[in-house]
């Protein structure tokens, strides 16, 4: 590899290379060996398939929403159907895609390997969490097929408890069940990280991917039960009709908001933190440098998790909360920007003077860094009380949220999938096509959501299916962008599926990365390691890798 090389991709000689005969995919055969597995890697693949399925259902609803908004008139669907569309889009994307996306797939697959363990601490609970996820997903689909639900993903009371005659209880129980799936994943990760590290794997030798999952797991374990109880109360209120949230009986709708956002604000950190872990790994690998300020990045994850619990009221500034508490929550919300900025700055410094190459995962990671920064900074607008009153419930919020969640998290997810795909399957995807997908996704994204900032700032409210004609240009741009974005998301599905059979053999360490997962065969053995490794160096130690490969005779096949 010379200093001028444009890629670090290092595939074995394809004429002699072969997938290792013994690996976690080939170790057993038959559907039951998958459905009853305790192997974290197989469960990760099951999750990957199921969340992809739900992603495309959620995406279809996004497409329908954009199609309706192509024209100012309500012409595609009736208004209550439109309400059901955006509710389904939100519920599926938030609870069935974003929350489990990186942790349940990549995290599940990689955390035990990164820690030098044979499996997560509780393999059966891990499998149980997948079945709970499926049960939640099935209930959601049931609510959809039976006629849908139109509360919005936020279940705002008393709208959801008294004024709607749709499948609120079914959907609430779906989310209740899916919530326990997320609790069990988080619980499993925390115990694994505390108790299953291999000899020499100190806390500050763990990859940052593990740190960010640790922080996200704390949020899952502490936040999700509160969502469970608030949805239980919504369900009981609908079924029995007692006024815990009903003002006519002395109940307080704001109580629901407090309980709901106590989970649902930390939930956005559950969604983004694992993505930040992916970016740390990718940026380090493709700059050939240790992550700058490792300790700061590690602690900033935990700081985001802690601060994340004390900002929920910023969703309620216009709901008649006390001005003084609004002031405090406004300040606290702005404080979350500090650890987030620490991460962005440290990744930028990691790039500085690094030997940067532009493989597909890195392109997605650059997409993340740019789009997340925009999303994060507009979050500060919204944390400011005056701005929030002007901008809340407009498309500005929609754009902000999608910049963080789609521009941030989805980019990170795709970056991670492309980064670890060779490890998970043993095969490489077509490189130029995947780079094209990354660029198309980025362009489509900007085109979809940048106009929404403007149209929101001009005053177009969210969740309406008609709008004044002067907003049409921006909405047409947005819908056009959504089409491009759709192509960007279809491409990976196609070439990743293609690569399963026809992709080049990837070898153990195609990216020449330092993580423990890259030192074992791809796809890994069921028990990950033939013998438990001893960690004798820090994470991202490229000198160690160089010494290791120097003394090593590489045999392939």
């Amino acid at each position: 590899m010379s200093a001028t090389s444009t890629t670090i991709l290092n595939l074995p000689d394809q004429t002699t290379a072969a997938i290792p005969k013994k690996n976690y995919i080939s170790s057993e055969h038959g559907l039951l060996s998958w459905l009853l597995t305790g192997d974290h890697k197989r469960i990760a693949m099951l999750y990957l398939i199921s969340i992809t399925f739900f992603f495309f259902i959620g995406g279809a609803f996004a497409g329908l929403i954009r199609l309706e908004l192509l024209t100012p008139q309500p012409d595609l669907v009736a208004s209550d159907t439109y309400n059901k569309f955006f509710t389904m889009h939100g519920i599926i994307m938030v609870f069935l895609f974003l929350v489990p996306s990186v942790p349940a797939t990549l995290g599940n697959f990689l955390i035990p390997i990164m820690l030098g363990a044979r499996d997560l601490a509780f393999p059966k609970i891990n499998l149980l969490s997948w079945y709970l996820y499926l049960a939640g997903g099935t209930l959601t689909l049931a609510a959809l097929v039976l006629g849908g639900v139109d509360t919005g993903w936020t279940f705002t009371t008393p709208l959801s408890t008294h004024y709607l005659n749709t499948h609120v209880v079914t959907t609430a129980s779906a989310i209740f069940v899916a919530g326990f799936s997320s609790i069990f994943t988080g619980l499993n990760f925390i115990v694994t990280i505390h108790r299953m590290r291999c000899p020499g794997m100190t806390w500050f030798r763990m990859p940052l991917f593990v740190w960010s999952h640790y922080a996200a797991s704390i949020l899952m374990v502490l936040g999700t039960p509160v969502l469970a109880i608030s949805l239980t109360l919504v369900g009981l209120e609908r079924l029995v009709g007692i006024g815990v949230f009903d003002p006519t009986k002395g109940g307080d709708p704001l109580l629901f908001q407090h309980l709901f956002w106590f989970y649902s604000h930390p939930a956005v950190y559950i969604m983004i933190l694992p993505g930040m872990g992916v970016i740390s790994e990718v940026v380090s690998t493709f700059s050939r440098k240790r992550v700058f300020g490792y300790t700061a990045v590690a602690f900033s994850s935990v700081a985001i998790a802690l601060f994340g619990f004390f900002v929920w009221e910023h969703h309620m500034f216009i709901m008649g909360v006390s001005n003084y508490s609004a002031l405090v929550f406004s300040l606290l919300s702005m404080l979350v920007a500090v650890p987030s900025a620490i991460k962005i700055f440290n990744w930028s410094f990691t790039l500085q003077k690094g030997s940067i190459t532009f493989e597909t995962p890195m392109l997605y990671a650059f997409g993340f860094m740019g789009l997340f920064t925009i999303g994060g900074l507009t979050g500060i607008f919204l944390a400011a009380l005056g701005m929030d009153i002007q901008l809340t419930e407009t498309y500005f919020i929609v754009a902000h949220f999608h910049f963080v969640m789609v521009g941030g998290m989805l980019m990170a997810f795709l970056s991670g999938v492309h980064f670890w795909w060779p490890k998970m399957t043993g095969r490489m995807y077509p490189e130029s096509l995947s780079k094209l997908a990354a660029v198309v996704t980025f362009i489509g994204f900007i085109l979809t959501f940048m106009p929404q900032f403007i149209v929101g700032y001009l005053g177009m409210p969210r969740r309406y299916h008609a709008y004044p004609p002067e907003y049409q240009v921006l909405n047409v741009l947005s819908t056009a962008g959504a089409t491009v974005l759709g192509v960007g998301y279809m491409l990976p599905i196609l070439y990743l599926a293609w690569s399963l059979k026809y992709g080049a053999i990837a070898g153990n360490n195609p990216w020449q990365a330092t993580g423990l997962e890259w030192q074992i065969q791809s796809p890994p053995l069921t028990e990950n390691f033939t013998e438990i490794p001893v960690m004798d160096h820090e994470a991202y130690d490229y000198e160690w890798l160089e010494h290791k490969t120097q003394n090593e005779v590489t045999t392939v096949g």
Binding site: S33, D39, I183, M196, G250
Partner: protein
């Protein structure tokens, strides 16, 4: 098939337990992915503590709602609370503490490998748990008879005109305020119901543990299920120790 789920066996036997240098303890319940038995035991109990943490957050939402409304509608919560029977509630508290005592004995019995003692302690734990549920049922039935169950059949007349119902020691409250008694009773049923649900799940698990203890599963140094269940059972006790004063003892002077 190394780490598949064997549904009939709760923990998979595995031959290759890593032995301590000085002590050759063979525990068939050792799982392959743990390096040592100590690691397995620690992971299990740590996982249980984390699970209890999620339970605290779950009940926390209800406690939060209760404290909020207790603060807002104190005048309604006092007479509503006074309808609950401190005698029954107090008895139940004693029963639950006794049940917890036998659970603690069971953990000890498992640790010192006294099989018969363990089985008896677990059975006593179960019996006292069942006694608690029975008394709770009597209380709920009383509230049903007095039409204090929230919903369509809820009746405020006992709170508005207690004298007409032969209740002499309660001051009447306005109908507006009396409506808020319904919120008290809703939270009362939600909290005690959620607690009772945890008790019933616990009793189910106890039956399973008794069967396994009888079989001798916990008499050879493998005590993790007993210990972890003990944590759960004590947690359920503690929830009640908070529920009892909050729900039963508001503004009782003197206790009656």
């Amino acid at each position: 098939m190394d780490n598949s789920i064997v549904t009939t066996e709760p923990l998979m036997p595995r031959e290759t337990a890593v032995h301590e240098e000085h002590e050759h303890v063979f525990i068939p319940q050792h799982r392959h992915h743990f390096e040592t038995e100590e690691q397995q035991r620690e992971a299990g109990s740590f996982g249980m503590w984390l699970f209890l943490l999620t339970e605290i957050m779950f009940f926390g939402g209800l406690f939060f709602a209760y404290l909020l409304y207790r603060n807002w509608y104190y005048d309604a919560f006092v007479p509503a609370s006074n309808f609950l029977s401190v005698t029954l509630g107090g008895t139940n508290t004693a029963i639950l503490i006794t049940s917890g005592f036998f659970m603690a004995l069971a953990v000890w019995a498992a640790e010192v490998r006294k099989k018969q003692f363990l089985v008896i302690a677990l059975i006593l734990t179960t019996l006292f748990g069942l006694a608690f549920i029975s008394i709770k049922y009597v209380e709920w039935h009383d509230e049903w008879v007095h039409r204090h169950v929230p919903g369509a059949s809820f009746d405020i007349s006992e709170f508005v005109s207690p004298k007409a119902h032969g209740i002499t020691d309660q001051k009447p409250i306005s109908p507006d305020m009396a409506e808020h008694c319904q919120i008290f009773f809703f939270l009362y049923f939600a909290m005690t119901g959620m607690h009772a649900l945890h008790m019933i799940i616990g009793i189910g698990l106890l039956v399973w543990l008794i069967l396994r203890a009888q079989r001798g599963d916990f008499s050879a140094g493998y005590v993790a299920p007993i210990e972890n269940f003990g944590l759960y059972w004590h947690f359920v006790d503690i929830v009640w120790l908070f529920l009892f004063p909050l729900l039963y003892l508001i503004n009782r002077h003197p206790l009656k």
